[in-house]
Each structure stands twice: as structure tokens, then as C-alpha cells.
């Protein structure tokens, strides 16, 4: 057994986290910053943070992930990291020549009280930031929230820094996306294109973390939201923010700073969340929903009705981030599946409220928890108490899957052992068909592998 010490005997824990269903803020800030064109993320802390975050993102995407670090030593930890950051800014603009440095803090620099804003101002005053170049900063203490919080904080910092309302309304809609894959960002743009709505998507990691092999290495690939695009977000008609955790704070910032109103919706995973997203887009763009979209929706519903028998009543355990878990749970319920165990290490009260509204009627037995000690160990203990038919989550789920013999679908961050997430979206109606394909694939593989020979089915 891989997780041989896990038993069904759940004991309340107040201090110990085992097998977390979250990681820390800076990696989210790094990911968000990679979705801005010409931007080099910078980790203001000890160099291990930067190394770990780059490694995690690289393993997930199998793509170059560039970021710099302030490389704190004991001295900087005692006397403050100002000298390190000033030197770093100078070195980065000289050697690596990005358009933007996106600095995020770490638990180290936050604990010693480094004021990033003040240091960046000093860099500017000292002439360390060349003309036309930018240094954006976000406070991302690792001991608050999770990786999703860091992502949100970096997005907020970008719109705070770049977006301006110049009183010239532009007929475009801002799309602020919660943490999704490059493939999903590409899909969001495709959907907006089908609806003929001009949008600015922030961040946009497509063409950054899914770049083609050309025989040339480009430190700043062609993708990413440009400075001009982010600036123009202040003049947009409306913002559609996808995700309470990942996108809301940037939407609020845009509203406060530039008076661009926003509507908050969920990441469009599954049928109903996509329905709501399409309706929001239609409202924001003041355009009726085109037939092609309705047809995509129809294809999804067709697959659902065709394959209902394999999904009905299946008990599912899932773990990951609230912005994606909530619509995914809703989708599973729509399919007549039973999402019975749901955990997320990311805190936030909306989680309980939304889960209750999705689950209380159809899956009253569901157990869900987020925040402290809502970890994979707890979820595994629940599974030991009463098993499930399907597990959905990041790669770490494979240990539970193998021990318990549960079919497993990889969704979330990080996925370290399979490909596909970079290229095939899970958002929108098409994405929902992919989720179905993946779930059905593992469920039916399990049936094929375990069915008695006499009831081994050719047609399913």
C-alpha cells in the first residue's frame, strides 16, 4: 500500500495538515504573471521558493517557466531585502530584458516587513527602471489563503498598475479568468469569438505555456495579455469575472479604479456554469446568443443523455480549488452523479454556501470541507469509511486511486504525470464533453477490466 498509514478512523486535527489540497500564494502569482506578455515573474524571497515554483509549473506544463529571485541570505533576512530587490531589478533589465517585472513577495519578505511598493518606488527614483519598462508588485504572503489567493493578488496588481479609464469607452468586454489552463484560455477566446464579442482576456497563458517546437527558444513567447490590452481594460463596457477566488478582486479593483462594472460568474465548467457564462457574455456584449453556441450546447446534452446509465448514482470524491470544484460539483449533480466527498485547502466562506445550495437537495449525504485541515488525508479517510466510484483531482490522487482501486480523472494543479491539460480545454460545452469523455473512459475501463468474461461487453 502506498498510503499504508491511512485508516478510516477520523480524528479531529487542529494543527496538523497531511497531504494538502492546496499550495502557497507565490506560485499562483507566478502563473498569473506568465499570462502577461513580455513579463518576467520575480520572487522576492529565498531562492528556494522560486526554484520550487518554477519546477512545479514546469512539471505541469512541460514548457520553459522563467522567473527570477531576490536570493535572500541570512543578512538580507535580518536587514531587509531592499538591496537585493534593487540589485535584482537592475540585473534583470540589463540581462534578461523583459518589458515588465512582476514582483511577488514570499513568507520570508512578508515576515520581515519588506514594503514592496516602497522598494519599487526607490528603484524608479534611482533610475533602475528603464524608460517604457514596468515593475508591478503584489503582496503574496504564503501564510494567508492559498495558491489561488496569490493568483488573484497578482491579477489585481496588474489591473491596478496598468488599467486606466481615459473616458473613451471601448466596445469591448473584459474577461477575468480564475485559474485555468492555457487550453481553457484559448477556448474562452474562441467562445467569445463565436459570439462576435471583442474581449480582453487577463491573464492569458495560451501561446506562453503551450508554445510550439520551432528549434528556437524565445524567453518571452508571443502569448500573454499585452500592456496595451490591460491598459484598455479601464475603458471597457463591462467585466465578466470568472471565479470568486481567482478573479473577483481584480474585477472589484477595475470597478473602483476605472468604474467598469462587473458581473461575477463561475469558471464555465460543465453545463450550467457555461450557460450562465454565455448569458453573461451575451448581456455584457449586448448580443444574442448565436446558433453555433446553442448547437455546441446541444451536442453536450446529447452526450449526457446517451451515456447517462454509466454515470447515474456514481459516488465521486474530488479535491482541488473552489473556483473549479464548485462548477464541477454542479455538473456532476446535473449528470445524476453523487459528489459525496469534496475538499479544498483554499479557505473562503462562499464554498460552504455554494456547495450547500448545489448538494443539499440531491446529495444530502455529501461531506465537504475547505480551509485548514481540509486535506487529501481527510478525504481519503472518508473514502475508507465508505468507498467511491470515481476520484477527480490533481496527480497526487493517483496514490489513493491505486490503493483503493478507484478510477481516477486528473483535473487541477498540478498534473505531473499525464499530458492533455495544456491542449484540451475543460471549460465551455466542448470542455464539458472532454470531462465526460475522461470520466466515462476510466469508469468503463474499470468495468472492462473487472467484468466476468461472460458479461464482457462489446458495445457500451
Amino acid at each position: 500500500m502506498l498510503l499504508r498509514h491511512t485508516t478510516s478512523n477520523v480524528k479531529e486535527r487542529k494543527a496538523l495538515t497531511v497531504n494538502p489540497a492546496k499550495t502557497c500564494q507565490p506560485v499562483g502569482a507566478m502563473y498569473a504573471a506568465l499570462g502577461v506578455h513580455g513579463c518576467l515573474p520575480h520572487s522576492h524571497g529565498s531562492q528556494g521558493c522560486c526554484s520550487y515554483h518554477r519546477s512545479a509549473l514546469t512539471r505541469h506544463y512541460k514548457e520553459p517557466v522563467m522567473a527570477a529571485t531576490s536570493s535572500f541570505t541570512e543578512g538580507s533576512s535580518v536587514f531587509g531585502g531592499q538591496a537585493n530587490l534593487l540589485q535584482a531589478i537592475d540585473n534583470i533589465f540589463t540581462i534578461y530584458e523583459p518589458d515588465i517585472i512582476a514582483v511577488h513577495s514570499t513568507c520570508l519578505s512578508e515576515t520581515i516587513g519588506d514594503d514592496l511598493g516602497q522598494i519599487v518606488k526607490k528603484a524608479l527614483d534611482d533610475g533602475k527602471i528603464p524608460e517604457g519598462k514596468h515593475v508591478v508588485q503584489a503582496s503574496t504572503p504564503s501564510y494567508v489563503g492559498s495558491h489561488v489567493t496569490g493568483y488573484a493578488n497578482m491579477l489585481e496588481a496588474f489591473v491596478k498598475y496598468f488599467a486606466y479609464n481615459t473616458e473613451e469607452k471601448i466596445r469591448q468586454v473584459n474577461l477575468l479568468s480564475g485559474w485555468v489552463e492555457p487550453s481553457d484560455m484559448r477556448e474562452l477566446k474562441r467562445i467569445a469569438g463565436l459570439m462576435d464579442i471583442k474581449t480582453v482576456l487577463l491573464p492569458d497563458t495560451s501561446d506562453v505555456l503551450d508554445t510550439p517546437m520551432t528549434g528556437e527558444y524565445k524567453m518571452y513567447p508571443k502569448g500573454g495579455t499585452t500592456v496595451e490590452e490591460i491598459a484598455s481594460m479601464g475603458n471597457s463596457m463591462k467585466t465578466v469575472a470568472m471565479g470568486e477566488w481567482g478573479a473577483k478582486s481584480a474585477a472589484v479593483m477595475l470597478d473602483n479604479k476605472c468604474k467598469v462594472p462587473f458581473s461575477l460568474t463561475e469558471v464555465p465548467i460543465g453545463l450550467k456554469a457555461t450557460d450562465r457564462f454565455i448569458q453573461e457574455l451575451s448581456l455584457a456584449g449586448k448580443i444574442s446568443i448565436p446558433e453555433v453556441i446553442t448547437e455546441e450546447r446541444g451536442r453536450l446534452v446529447d452526450v449526457i443523455t446517451d451515456m447517462h446509465q454509466y454515470l447515474y448514482g456514481k459516488r465521486v470524491a474530488l479535491f482541488g480549488d473552489p473556483d473549479t470544484l464548485i462548477p464541477l460539483t454542479e455538473f456532476l449533480v446535473d449528470l445524476d452523479m453523487k459528489p459525496v466527498y469534496i475538499v479544498s485547502g483554499t479557505p473562503g466562506k462562499v464554498f460552504d454556501k455554494r456547495m450547500a445550495s448545489i448538494l443539499s437537495e440531491k446529495v444530502p449525504e455529501a461531506k465537504y470541507k475547505n480551509g485548514p485541515q481540509a486535506d487529501m488525508f481527510l478525504m481519503h479517510q472518508w473514502i475508507k469509511e465508505e468507498p467511491v466510484d470515481l476520484l477527480i483531482g490533481n496527480t497526487y490522487g493517483k496514490y489513493i486511486s491505486r490503493d483503493e482501486g478507484i478510477p481516477f480523472v486528473r483535473m487541477g494543479f498540478p498534473i505531473l504525470d499525464r499530458i492533455g491539460h495544456s491542449y484540451f480545454p475543460t471549460v465551455g460545452y466542448q470542455g464539458a464533453i472532454r470531462i465526460l469523455e475522461k470520466m466515462l473512459g476510466v469508469i468503463m475501463d474499470q468495468q472492462d477490466a473487472t467484468a466476468p468474461e461472460e458479461s464482457f461487453e462489446l458495445v457500451m
Binding site: 502557497c24 524571497g45 519546477s55 514546469t58 541570505t73 533576512s77 504564503s142 517546437m213
Partner: protein
């Protein structure tokens, strides 16, 4: 651009290229990097700048002290709960990511698949995290019933004044199991290397010598600095067993705290990765009189040499005979594969920037295949790993090194092995070398470029200049290099392959090089129409 054909008569002088690389840097940076790049001349005792602070803003390969302590040294040990005291990230990133394989028998403890953290929150930073740490230890004890718990400090811990060592002492008294702490905050040193030292100290202080075990074999040995990436240690264990060597403990691949505790009953310590583990070897010699030798199981020739050296140490005829039988049989198998692969890869160019020993050890395997190493360097090594241990007395101890406790070790009269000390003296007289690490530079060709702590800018320039056929580094470099159309072999994770140690490992590595250097996939990059003139469409919608 150098012409590869010229390399047959030796490597080109890269002086101009080095200047070109340095030109990009601000003056102070250039001055520092200049000393970290040596145009090698094995005939001269050259000095390299190593184990110094990473320059802020430079995109480095290096990680932190915590990574070296928890991730590298203690990570591969299965019967201990490694509890990370800090915000969640540090525990998350060191969770199973290093591929340390382990074989736990049914019913034996194995906590390596778990990540344990105190997940510090802002109130713990403001008001202190000691209470939460104590409670986490109690909870871990109650739920998992481990025989030992290690506490690993992350950056904020030292800054807010949490004393993990006093918490460890208190909890040890309360719970009656072995509990000890490591002050391995990420910022403590200039790289992972500081963490290795801290881990060595902790294990030595709190574990080594805790249990005396009666002898179980005629030749009792420890293998130090072998982390069982991809099953390397399994391959070495297989050979030891056949030769009749009793491996008490490996630091720390496929290891247990239980085995560290009686590892002081060995007759010989063998050091594989000198950088990460020489401290324990030195301390065990001082305290218990156990001599240590440098070994290398990367490369078939190196493995044979190492096995003979072990046999010579014991001076036992039967052992020597067994060793020769194993070498003869295994070498034949290795040669059969080498004969097939070598003609396909000979003359290709490699460069390697990794670790504290692998960039040296893996040159053996490349040499066996006739692949030339044009440039190499370590990520976190010290001068002695480049220039040899004889420079240790001349290494300037800077403030960052002084941060790390240097344990004062005294002789353990009860367990001290006077017999081994006498044996060592006798062998030394006949020219047998102990504590013998000569470093990477003497083994490299003239004019090869040795670079410490290579960074992203230099990596790009090196690729442009040398156009290597293969590049060896880690995950952060892998896809950068491959975008250039050059295959990268990860020498931390082995790209999820291996083992590459000892004879079986050499065969695996040869075959891997045959695959990587022989494939045509890189020629697929250009579309067939890349060089065709653009055709203006006449049957498109617009026309």
C-alpha cells in the same frame, strides 16, 4: 562558431566566448561571474569561485537550505515523520518530487508518500507557532504512531523566534519517541548545500549511535550520499549482496532511521556524493574511528574500480575473488551493449550542469561511450568538489558558512575502532588512499569550460557557442534547452528512467543515450513547406 571536427585535436580555447558572455553583465556581476568560470587546464591548480551567494535577479538553478535538508538528505528516509514547520508550500513542493525509491516490507512504516505540515497561518506568524507545532506533533503521534519525528524549519520560523529544538526536546520527553529539529530555514546558506550540512549534523547528533547491533556480516559497510533516485541504490545493493558485503545503512536512499542508529558499527564508510554527505563521514571517523573512502558507482569502469578498492580495504581473498567474478560477468554484459551503442554516439558533445557530484560522476559514463564533455559545472558544490580536498584548508570561511554549526565531535571510547585506525595506517603506507576526493577539474579536458552555478543567460550562450548534442541539467532547464532542438537529460530525476548506477545502470544509460542521441524526432521540427515560397491563394474565400 567552433567547428566540431576540430575537437578531435582538443577543445577550442573559449576565452573569447567567455568574454562575450561576461560583456552582458553589469560590472560587479561580471567580476564575480568571471571567477566562477574556469577555462580548464588539468596541469595547473586553478581556483574557482564556488559556494558563494547567488546574485539577486540572476535566474539560477539553485534551491534553498530547506530543500537540501528536508528534500535531499532526510526525504528518502521512510520510517520517520518529516514534519515541516511553516506555511504550506515548502511541504507541498518537497512531497514525492525527488523520486527517491524505497522498499518497505509489508507492515513496515513508510511515511514518504505523505506530506506533513503545520500549515502556518498569519496568526502563527504574529503570535508564534510553537503551540501549533507541539499540537501537530501530538496529532501526528496519535494518528500515525511513528518511532521518530523530524521538524524542519522554513523561512519564517527562525525570524519569528520559534525554537524548534526546545519544542523537540519537550515533545520527546512528553511522547517518549525520538524527536529532533533542524534549523534549515531557506535563507540560511547560499544554496541547498547548507541544508545538507545541517541535516548531517542533525542525524549525527540525534540518531547515529543510538542502538548497538551485534555484527551481522564479515564486511560491514555504509554507503553515504546515494539517494536511490530511480533505483540506483537497489542496483548497488544487488552487487554488494553478491560480493558478500553487508550494507548496514545508506545515507539516505532506501533508508531508515533505524539503520542510521546502528550505522556506527560499520567497518568502512563509502562516500558517493562527497558534497552532501562528507560531514557525516568525517564525524564518524572522529568519533568511532571508521575510515572513509570516496567511491563512484556511476560508470562501469568506475564501479569496477570502486569494488576492487573495497576488496583491497578488507584484504580478504574470498571477497576479492567474488568481486572479480562479479566484475568479469557484469563487465561482459556492459561491453556487449557498449559495443553496439558506442559507434553510434562517439564524438558527440555533451555538457552538464547539475548537483554537487553528478556533473563529475556522469562524465565517466560519457567517456565510456566516447562522448566529449565540453563544459560542466555544479549547482551548489564547493571548491573541493572542483579542485580536490587538498584545497579545503585554503577555503575562506565566509559569513554564510559560519552560520552553520560545526559540531565538535569527541571520541567515543566505548565504540572507538582502534583496529580500523591501525588498518588504515597500514594501508596508507602501501599507498591506499582514504578521504580521497580529487574533484572534477583534474578529470576534465584542457580548455573545457568549468562553470559554477550556471545561470539562464550563460546556458543560452553555451548552447549557441558549443551546439552540444546533449545537455544534462534539471527540470527547470529541460524545456528551455529542448526548444533549441537539443535533447536534455535530467540528472536529478533521470527523466523518470534509470537506474544508472553500477553495471546494470551503465547499460540503461548507454541505451538511453542511444535513444536520445540517435533519434530523428528533432528533424521533424521544420514543416516541409518552411523553405517554399509563399503562394498567394486563388481559391480562397476572399479571392
Amino acid at each position: 562558431m567552433p567547428n566540431k571536427k576540430n575537437y578531435i585535436n582538443g577543445l577550442p580555447d573559449p576565452s573569447e566566448f567567455k568574454e562575450e558572455m561576461l560583456k552582458k553583465y553589469p560590472r560587479k556581476v561580471a567580476k564575480k561571474r568571471d571567477k566562477a568560470m574556469i577555462i580548464n587546464d588539468p596541469a595547473e591548480g586553478q581556483e574557482i569561485l564556488a559556494n558563494v551567494r547567488t546574485i539577486p535577479g540572476i535566474i539560477t538553478q539553485r534551491g534553498c537550505t530547506y530543500a537540501g535538508c528536508k528534500g535531499v538528505v532526510l526525504g528518502p528516509t521512510r520510517d520517520i515523520i518529516n514534519l515541516v514547520h511553516g506555511p504550506i508550500g515548502c511541504s507541498f513542493y518537497a512531497w514525492l518530487t525527488r523520486r527517491n525509491q524505497t522498499r518497505a516490507e509489508k507492515g513496515d512504516p513508510n511515511f514518504m508518500t505523505y506530506a506533513f505540515s503545520t500549515d502556518m497561518q498569519d496568526e502563527n506568524i504574529v503570535f508564534g507557532g510553537e503551540e501549533k507545532l507541539k499540537n501537530a506533533i501530538r496529532e501526528a503521534f496519535e494518528i500515525f504512531n511513528p518511532s521518530s519525528i523530524g521538524i524542519f524549519s522554513t523561512c519564517p520560523v527562525g525570524l519569528i523566534g520559534d525554537d524548534v529544538h526546545s519544542v523537540a526536546r519537550e515533545m520527546k520527553a512528553e511522547l517518549g519517541i525520538n524527536i529532533f529539529g533542524f534549523s534549515c530555514e531557506g535563507y540560511r546558506g547560499v544554496s541547498q548545500s547548507a541544508g545538507h550540512h545541517i541535516a548531517n549534523n542533525g542525524i549525527f547528533k540525534h540518531v547515529v549511535g543510538n542502538t548497538d547491533r551485534p555484527r551481522t556480516g564479515k564486511f560491514q559497510v555504509n554507503l553515504l550520499g546515494e539517494y536511490n533516485i530511480g533505483g540506483d541504490a537497489f542496483e548497488i545493493e544487488r552487487i554488494f549482496e553478491e560480493c558478500g558485503l553487508t550494507l548496514l545503512s545508506t545515507y539516505s536512499g532506501n533508508s531508515t532511521v533505524e539503520s542510521f542508529a546502528y550505522s556506527h558499527t560499520a567497518d568502512l564508510n563509502m562516500v558517493m556524493c562527497h558534497r552532501s554527505i562528507n560531514y557525516i563521514a568525517e564525524m564518524m571517523e572522529e568519533k568511532y574511528g571508521i575510515p572513509w573512502i570516496k567511491v563512484n558507482f556511476i560508470g562501469a569502469d568506475a564501479t569496477a574500480k570502486t569494488l576492487r578498492k573495497i576488496a583491497d580495504y578488507f584484504g580478504d581473498k574470498e571477497l576479492s575473488e567474488k568481486v572479480e567474478v562479479v566484475i568479469a560477468r557484469e563487465s561482459a554484459k556492459v561491453k556487449a551493449v557498449a559495443d553496439l551503442v558506442k559507434p553510434k554516439v562517439e564524438g558527440k558533445l555533451a555538457m552538464m550542469f547539475v548537483g554537487g557530484s553528478r556533473a563529475h560522476h556522469y562524465q565517466e559514463l560519457f567517456t565510456e561511450l566516447g562522448v566529449r564533455v565540453v563544459s560542466a559545472g555544479y549547482e551548489f558544490a564547493h571548491r573541493d568538489d572542483y579542485e580536490g580536498r587538498e584545497v579545503i584548508p585554503n577555503i575562506k570561511i565566509d559569513a554564510d558558512t559560519r552560520n552553520i554549526e560545526d559540531l565538535s565531535v569527541t571520541k567515543d571510547d566505548e565504540n572507538y575502532r582502534d583496529d580500523l585506525v591501525a588498518k588504515k595506517a597500514q594501508l596508507e603506507e602501501s599507498g591506499y588512499e582514504f578521504r580521497d576526493y580529487k574533484g572534477m577539474m583534474p578529470d576534465m579536458s584542457k580548455n573545457s569550460l568549468v562553470i559554477d552555478d550556471v545561470n539562464h543567460w550563460e546556458t543560452e550562450k553555451l548552447i549557441e557557442f558549443y551546439k552540444p548534442d546533449i545537455f544534462c541539467a534539471g527540470i527547470k532547464e529541460k524545456y528551455v534547452v529542448q526548444k533549441y532542438g537539443i535533447p536534455l537529460k535530467q540528472l536529478h530525476s533521470y527523466d523518470y528512467g534509470g537506474p544508472y548506477a553500477a553495471f546494470g545502470g551503465a547499460i540503461n544509460f548507454y541505451k538511453e543515450m542511444e535513444r536520445m542521441l540517435g533519434t530523428d524526432i528533432w528533424k521533424l521540427v521544420d514543416a516541409p513547406w518552411k523553405h517554399e515560397p509563399e503562394i498567394v491563394g486563388s481559391v480562397t474565400y476572399d479571392s
